[in-house]
C-alpha cells in the first residue's frame, strides 16, 4: 500500500496531465469500483463500463479536487456510485431464456450456494438499495463509516443510523434454529 505522501505526489502529477500517475492512483480502485457497480447493476460487463466512465469523469474532474486530498477512494467511489445509479435508471429488464439451465451465471452461482447463503441473500436482497449499498461498502469493502457515508452522500452519523436500521431489518428475518414442528 502506498503512503499518503506518495498518493499526494501522484495526485499532483495527475493534475498536471500525467496519465500514468492517474492510472497508478486508480489501479487499486478498479476492483472495488467494479464490485460496487456490480452490486448496483448486477452485471460485470456493465460494471466495468461504469468504472471506465467514472475513471474518465475523475480524470476530467481532477482540477476540481480539493488541494489537500490525499485519498482518492471515497471521491472515486462516489463517482462510480453516481454512474451506476444513472445506469440503473436507464435500464429496465433484460431477458434470458432458460433453454439451458446452466447458461446463466447467476443461476450457476445459485446452484452452488448453500441454503444458508440463499436465505441470507434473500434477507439482504429485501433491504432498500441505500441500506444494501451501505452494508456492502462497510462490511465488504471495509470502508469506514464516514467514508462509506461520503460515497453515498450522507454524513457519518446518518451512515451509522442507516447501518443500524439495515442490521435491524436483517436480524429479525433470520434465526439460527427453525421453529420446532
Amino acid at each position: 500500500m502506498r503512503s499518503h505522501d506518495a498518493d499526494a505526489q501522484l495526485i499532483d502529477r495527475a493534475r498536471e496531465g500525467d496519465t500514468a500517475a492517474f492510472e497508478a492512483l486508480l489501479l487499486p480502485l478498479v476492483r472495488p469500483g467494479c464490485q460496487l457497480a456490480f452490486s448496483m447493476v448486477r452485471d460485470w460487463v456493465e460494471a466495468e463500463d461504469i468504472v471506465q466512465e467514472a475513471a474518465l469523469r475523475a480524470w476530467r474532474g481532477l482540477a476540481r479536487l480539493r488541494p489537500d486530498t490525499v485519498n482518492l477512494r471515497p471521491w472515486f467511489l462516489t463517482i462510480v456510485a453516481n454512474q451506476a445509479r444513472s445506469a440503473r435508471r436507464r435500464r429496465s429488464f433484460s431477458t434470458i431464456v432458460m433453454g439451458d439451465l446452466t447458461w446463466h451465471p447467476k443461476l450457476a452461482v445459485a446452484i452452488e450456494a448453500s441454503d444458508t447463503a440463499l436465505d441470507l441473500q434473500r434477507a439482504v436482497g429485501r433491504l432498500r438499495p441505500k441500506q444494501r449499498n451501505l452494508l456492502f461498502l462497510h462490511y465488504c469493502l471495509d470502508l469506514p463509516l464516514d467514508e462509506a457515508g461520503a460515497v453515498l452522500g450522507i454524513s457519518a452519523v446518518a451512515a451509522k443510523s442507516r447501518l443500524y436500521r439495515a442490521l435491524r431489518a436483517i436480524r429479525p428475518d433470520l434465526q439460527l434454529t427453525e421453529v420446532t414442528p
Binding site: 466495468e48 431464456v97 440463499l118 432498500r128
Partner: protein
C-alpha cells in the same frame, strides 16, 4: 456484530466479493480514451440504448427459439425430467404488476414472454401515491397485490385476496382476523377467538391456521367472512396453501431431515407434502424427500403443487400426483402466482414464468431485472 455475523453477511455479497473477471484493471484502464468527452446521460440516450438492447435480445430469443433449447441431463434422483421443447407461443404482451423493494410497479411483458427492455418500470397511478399501502390498522404491508378492476394496490399477498377481488383478509398484531373491502370502504374484525394466520381467501371463505404459542401455525380452519363463524377442518398440521378445493400440508417423517440453518420466523419446512381434498376430507401423501426438507412455493396454473428443495443445489419441483414429481428448474424459487395457463415465479432477485403443456413444464423463462431488490409478482398480467 461479531466475526461470524460479519462472515455470514459477506456471504450474502459473495458474487460481488468474487470480483470482476480477471483482467478488469487492464480492460478498464487500458481502454481509457482521455480525449473522449464523458457520455451524455439523457433520456434519449437511454431510450436508444434500451431499444438497441431490445433488438439484440429479441434477435437472440428468435435464434434460440428456431434452434430449440437443449437442456442438460438432470442428475439422477428418481425424478422425472421435464419436457424438452422450444419456446411455446404465449398470449403476451401484457402488463405485469410486480413489487420490487416494497414498491408496486408494472413491467410490460411482450411477445415470446420477453420483458420489454425499452420500457422503464412505470410507477403506477397508485391508490397510495405517498408510498407503500398500509393495512387499516396502520401496519406496513408485508406484500402487495394489484387489483386490476379497482386499479388499487392492496396491502396483502395475492393469496389473501378473495377470488372476485372484492375484499381481502389479514390478521392484525393480536391475531384478530379482519376482512376489508378492496375499495377501502369497509373494514371489519370478523373473528378474535384465536390467534389467526391467514392461509388463503377462497370463494368459500377465509382459510386460516390457529397460531400456537411458539408461533407455529397449527390446524386448519374455514372462517365465514360475513359472519366470522369459524369451522375447524383439521385439528393439527402445518397447512401452507389452499387453492381450488385442495389444501397442502408440509409434515415430517421420523427421524426428520436436518433443519435448514436459517429460516424465517414461523416459516414451515417439511419433507412430506400432503394433499387434502377439502370436499372429501381425504389426505394423500404426494411426495416424500427422505433426506432434505422442502418449502412450499405455491400452486401452479394446473393446480399442481410447487415446492422448493432446500438443500443445495436448490430445485423447483412440480408435484402433479402421488410420487409424480418433475424438476422444473434449478434455483431457490420462493413464491408462485398462477395466471391463466402460465405461472409466475420469483426468487430473491429474479422473475420467471413457467408455461406448461399437457401437464409438463415446457418453458421456464427467466427475466433478470438487474439491480438488486426483492421481487414478488403482485397480480395477473393484463
Amino acid at each position: 456484530m461479531n466475526d461470524t455475523d460479519r462472515d455470514q453477511l459477506r456471504q450474502a455479497f459473495s458474487i460481488e466479493l468474487s470480483g470482476p473477471p480477471s483482467g478488469a484493471e487492464q480492460r478498464v484502464l487500458g481502454g481509457l480514451d482521455y480525449g473522449r468527452q464523458p457520455r451524455r446521460q439523457g433520456l434519449w440516450f437511454g431510450v436508444a440504448a434500451a431499444g438497441l438492447a431490445g433488438l439484440v435480445i429479441v434477435t437472440l430469443l428468435a435464434s434460440r427459439a428456431l434452434v430449440g433449447g437443449t437442456r442438460p441431463p438432470i442428475p439422477g434422483s428418481g425424478l422425472l425430467p421435464f419436457a424438452q421443447s422450444p419456446i411455446a407461443a404465449a398470449p403476451f404482451p401484457c402488463r405485469l404488476p410486480i413489487e420490487r423493494n416494497g414498491v408496486g410497479m408494472f413491467t410490460t411483458v411482450s411477445s415470446g414472454a420477453t420483458a420489454s427492455p425499452g420500457v422503464p418500470l412505470q410507477e403506477p397511478a397508485s391508490s397510495d401515491p405517498g408510498g407503500r399501502p398500509r393495512l387499516p390498522d396502520g401496519e406496513g404491508a408485508a406484500r402487495l397485490t394489484y387489483q386490476w378492476e379497482l386499479r388499487r394496490w392492496l396491502p396483502v399477498a395475492p393469496e389473501w385476496v378473495s377470488p372476485d377481488g372484492a375484499s381481502y383478509a389479514y390478521s392484525d398484531r393480536q391475531g384478530i382476523l379482519h376482512v376489508v373491502s378492496s375499495a377501502g370502504t369497509q373494514e371489519r374484525a370478523v373473528n378474535s377467538d384465536r390467534t389467526w394466520a391467514v392461509v388463503a381467501f377462497q370463494a368459500e371463505g377465509v382459510y386460516a391456521a390457529a397460531v400456537s404459542a411458539d408461533t407455529t401455525p397449527d390446524g386448519l380452519w374455514l372462517i365465514d367472512p360475513a359472519t366470522g363463524r369459524a369451522r375447524q377442518l383439521q385439528a393439527s398440521g402445518r397447512w401452507v396453501g389452499v387453492r381450488a378445493g385442495v389444501a397442502w400440508e408440509l409434515t415430517l417423517t421420523s427421524p426428520a431431515p436436518p433443519l435448514p440453518q436459517f429460516s424465517r420466523p414461523g416459516e414451515v419446512t417439511g419433507n412430506v407434502l400432503v394433499r387434502l381434498d377439502l370436499q372429501t376430507g381425504r389426505t394423500t401423501p404426494m411426495y416424500t424427500s427422505p433426506s432434505s426438507r422442502m418449502r412450499f412455493v405455491g400452486v401452479d396454473a394446473e393446480e399442481d403443487a410447487l415446492v422448493s428443495d432446500v438443500r443445495a443445489p436448490s430445485a423447483l419441483l412440480v408435484v402433479s400426483g402421488p410420487g409424480r414429481v418433475t424438476i422444473a428448474a434449478s434455483g431457490a424459487w420462493s413464491s408462485a402466482l398462477p395466471d391463466g395457463d402460465r405461472t409466475w415465479l420469483t426468487d430473491t432477485q429474479t422473475l420467471g414464468v413457467v408455461l406448461k403443456q399437457a401437464g409438463a413444464v415446457t418453458t421456464l423463462i427467466q427475466v433478470d431485472p438487474g439491480a438488486g431488490g426483492d421481487i414478488e409478482v403482485a397480480g395477473p398480467c393484463r
